[in-house]
């Protein structure tokens, strides 16, 4: 019968519409520019950083505190030099690679782990779900910077440790979003029908639920990219994130700070780089949400377990 056919049809996947998405993107100038800026920054970080690594570490004491916006010493010093006469521009490009690597890896680890736990937890429910949600509540309870400060105090500062700490701190965001959506999807007809046909739970999660949770998680991930980048930079600024020879934008701000009054550029440019990247990611993710649901362009905060409890 036609009606029952309709009921078991799975909702259309949103993949395979990349061309359409790009066309929509070109109609929103702000989001379009943001996307271009992000792509350009990633390209510069991937291609430029390996090439400029030596130049970025070249000290030239004659160029100490060389001011920006002058081509006297070539394009390499257009953004000035720091206290050891190193090019700010080159260090920004090398730092970009680390910053993107940390932010990207953190979001990838947190989103994939969080989504997996969230789907399993939401699908099966029961005691496992309850325990996982309490753990997530605990992670949320401790301010993320404090957690990172304490853990990185004990562990050695390194890219891997930084990524792990930040990923754990951001895990609850993905866990809640994917769990909430799984709870809703679990009751839908196409999942029920799969279950009635004897499909295994793992297959239902993978084939029926995952394709619909992924787009939501990706939108959240884009939003998180900005906040993770800010958090990582903050930790490096405090001296517990990364230390040389690993340089990220936060380290540069922290180093420049000592000469703030003599060479403002050593502080202002790395911070501006963080700002531009975070803003682009935020504008793009806001557009993604607006595109998915025109009315609810802004808030996509998942309902917290507290609101759930209050409303039940």
């Amino acid at each position: 019968m036609a009606i029952s056919d309709l009921a078991v049809t799975r909702p259309a996947r949103s993949s395979g519409r990349i061309g359409e998405t790009l066309a929509q993107l070109s109609r929103s100038p702000l989001a379009f520019i943001s996307a271009i800026v992000l792509v350009a920054l990633v390209l510069v970080a991937v291609i430029g950083a390996p090439l400029l690594r030596d130049f970025a570490n070249t000290q030239n004491l004659r160029l100490r505190f060389f001011p920006p916006f002058s081509l006297e010493h070539g394009w390499g010093y257009v953004l000035g030099a720091d206290a050891l006469g190193r090019s700010i521009l080159a260090q920004l490009i090398v730092g970009a690679r680390t910053s993107f690597l940390v932010a990207g890896a953190t979001v990838a680890v947190a989103s994939i782990t969080g989504m997996t736990i969230g789907m399993v937890s939401g699908y099966f429910g029961g005691i496992v779900d309850a325990v996982l949600m309490r753990i997530s509540d605990i992670i949320v309870t401790v301010p993320s910077l404090l957690l990172a400060l304490a853990v990185l105090f004990v562990l050695e500062p390194s890219v891997v440790n930084l990524v792990l700490v930040l990923a754990i701190a951001r895990l609850p965001v993905y866990l809640r979003v994917s769990r909430a959506q799984t709870l809703e999807l679990r009751e839908r007809v196409f999942v029920e029908s799969s279950r009635a046909l004897g499909t295994s739970d793992a297959a239902i999660i993978w084939r029926d639920i995952r394709p619909l949770v992924v787009p939501t998680v990706m939108t959240v991930a884009m939003l998180e990219l900005a906040s993770v980048m800010l958090a990582a930079a903050g930790l490096s600024f405090l001296g517990v994130g990364l230390q040389r020879p690993d340089v990220d934008w936060g380290t540069l701000v922290s180093e420049g700070r000592e000469y703030l009054t003599r060479a403002w550029w050593a502080t202002v440019f790395p911070g501006t780089a963080i700002l531009i990247t975070a803003l682009s990611a935020n504008l793009l993710s806001n557009w993604m949400r607006a595109n998915a649901d025109p009315l609810q362009a802004a808030a996509m905060e998942p309902t917290s377990s507290r609101e759930e409890a209050a409303r039940s």
């Binding site: 309870t141 304490a150 903050g234 502080t267 202002v268 911070g271 504008l283 802004a298 609101e307 209050a310």
Partner: protein, 305 residues
């Protein structure tokens, strides 16, 4: 209501236990807590004495029980850097931080609620786009960098504001602004989203059919119903203001729990780190209970059910 509060209270206790487990294992992650507690140049004899004194030669479960009973008495040992118990060092810094967070959150809500409401009143208008872009912009500024640039401009170049410390009223301006930065952006967005929903709800349309002004519709009828998500995010961000307090102490040498923790990191004063995480954890749990109570006040469906 009672059921709701008792469930929430249980959750808080579980969270407290979780925080204690975390702090406990933090010290044992590196293998030897002695390496963390004792100065770098400690002799083997000192390490042995420390282990014996703190029961570190006993089974892990016994150690944890001891730790919990000590933690509940706020006993985390002596601070190396300051000649006083670590818990005293952490606790005495809290009032400063709570005051900073309270003032910042008050001002944040004063700014974010009208901004989010005006954006929601005319969705996709020029005003909405301006407010949304502004909120995304402030949420994108690195707060530590914002603090530094403010010092450069307002303190060094213009000489209007003090660079550090806590003295006159003027010395509060930059720390409060730094702590407010991200919450203003995020809460404005949440207010906008929540208000979009309630402004379109039947009861607001019905109230409009009774001839009320838009101010009454927005601020009395829609806002009160949008309160739950706003309270949730405000509670979340109030707890997160400890993050801001850490930044503020690092840039402005602002006294408070942030200062204590940053100093402890630089002095490798592990007892204080432990005490600090524990005290902040307790403060956030208390904050959560407060938020639950505000929930019940804001929504009669929770109060009477």
């Amino acid at each position: 209501m009672l059921k709701f509060l008792s469930v929430r209270l249980t959750t808080s206790l579980v969270a407290l236990l979780g925080v204690m487990v975390m702090v406990f294992f933090l010290a044992r992650l590196t293998g030897s807590p002695a390496a963390l507690y004792l100065p770098v140049d400690a002799t083997d004899a000192m390490v042995e004495a420390f282990n014996r004194q703190n029961g570190l030669d006993q089974p892990l479960l016994v150690q944890f029980t001891n730790f919990v009973s000590n933690a509940l008495r706020f006993d985390f040992g002596q601070s190396i850097a300051q000649q006083r118990p670590a818990s005293v060092a952490a606790l005495s810094a809290m009032p400063q931080t709570i005051l900073l967070a309270a003032i910042s959150m008050g001002l944040t809500l004063l700014l974010a609620i009208p901004l989010g409401t005006f954006a929601a009143l005319r969705p996709n208008s020029a005003i909405d786009r301006a407010i949304t872009t502004f909120s995304l912009f402030v949420a994108s500024i690195p707060d530590f960098w914002f603090a530094l640039v403010c010092v450069l401009v307002f303190s060094v170049n213009l000489g209007w504001l003090p660079t550090s410390g806590q003295g006159s009223l003027l010395s509060w301006i930059l720390p409060v602004a730094t702590v407010m930065l991200h919450p203003v952006g995020v809460i404005t967005q949440v207010v906008r989203g929540a208000m979009l929903e309630t402004l379109n709800a039947g009861y607001v349309q019905n109230a409009r059919a009774r001839g009320y002004s838009w101010k009454r519709l927005a601020f009395r009828h829609a806002l009160r119903n949008a309160a739950l998500p706003i309270i949730t995010i405000a509670g979340d961000r109030a707890g997160g203001m400890v993050n801001g307090a850490v930044i503020v102490s690092a840039v402005f040498a602002w006294p408070g729990i942030g200062q204590v923790l940053v100093d402890a990191v630089y002095n490798r004063d592990f007892a204080v780190i432990q005490a600090g995480v524990f005290v902040v954890g307790i403060a956030v749990i208390l904050l959560n209970i407060l938020v639950d109570l505000i929930y019940a006040v804001a929504d009669p469906r929770i109060r009477i059910s």
